[in-house]
Symmetry: C2
Subunit: 207 residues, 2 copies
Amino acid sequence: MLEKPTRLRTDAAHNRAQILEIAKRTFETEGLDVSMSELARRAGLGVATVYRHFPTKADLVAEAFAEPMAECAGMLDEALADPDPWRGFCRVIEEVCAMQARNHGFSAAIVTALPDQARFAELRDHALRGFTELIRRAQEAGALRADFAVSDLSLILLANGGLRSGAGAAAPAASRRLAGYLLQSFRTETAAPLPPPAELPLDGSVL
Amino acid sequence: MLEKPTRLRTDAAHNRAQILEIAKRTFETEGLDVSMSELARRAGLGVATVYRHFPTKADLVAEAFAEPMAECAGMLDEALADPDPWRGFCRVIEEVCAMQARNHGFSAAIVTALPDQARFAELRDHALRGFTELIRRAQEAGALRADFAVSDLSLILLANGGLRSGAGAAAPAASRRLAGYLLQSFRTETAAPLPPPAELPLDGSVL
DNA sequence: CGGAAAGTGGAAGGGGTCTTCCGATTCGCG
DNA sequence: CGCGAATCGGAAGACCCCTTCCACTTTCCG
């Protein structure tokens, strides 16, 4: 039986934290296309050290994005707490889009890390159930158009993700504008007939 | 002075066409992430042969996408010919989105090939001028919201490009739905205040 | 039909990635 | 303080990629 040493040596603990910190910052500002060697260099450590603490790049990514991931789930809970479901709905969309635009690695991280990390499966399901409930309430209140589908969330995330890759520094502004446009067409009043929802994954690959 | 031999040898001409054909098909269905070796293999030729006809991958991409590129520009001219500017506007958006969703390499090709290919600079400028004119007319007719900006085209293209990468086979359907949502919010009636347009490139990198 | 020129194929150059290995180093308990 | 175990660092393995080189083959003109 393998048993992991209960605690890391103090230097090792420090290095681990250091790597994680650098990874968080770098992934956020430059995306996931940073090599492990480069991360190691920036942390002032060897590559092997990085691999000792994070067996694979996906593991490092998962760990680095645990916080933003949880933050996202938190947004949903806050939104559900809002007495006005439409306002809650808007906030979720706006905030998630903003997060995605701000954090360059976020979208890619979802794809890279989510699929086979059990730790996120629960988070995702929770968020998805919450969002479904939010939609129901907003529609019942007559604010959200009736033909808005849960899969439209994937649509929004993918579309907004497209901005991040191409808009560079303007990504946050572009993102706000896109969210603005979309939210206006999600309101009941607008509701003209629409092409049917796409059968988007909705599983790990998108959210 | 270098002068290119007026005509290719018949076998060479055949091979060139063969490569181009394979490249078009492959780029369309699988995107640009196909190696030159793989393309050569599929064409039943050696790598060197590919490079003899297309000095760099970007050259091959440019050549392979010349047609869809021109087709795009054509859509604009058709739209401008439509007596109803709003209908023309919608068609451009819908068709360009459809093209982007159908042809997996299209967006990436714009980024890869457009920047330093003089042949496309003119095409792009023409299209951009045409689109600007189309916007003006649609706004004057009172159909398109007044705060729609030219840079919103980049917004649409980037957003729609995001679908293509993540939606897989559902991309066309997702694309149609996104275009549907957006067009509804572009109509005058909807027009509620909106975040300001982002300062998107608008140059080679996006359109 | 024969030979010069055009065209070809496969290997190899140069660069990048993720990951593993192992000898050298550092920590921290006794 | 000393010594074993945990940890580290850099080189190297195993794949990718795009591109170049050069001996070999094919075409086609006189």
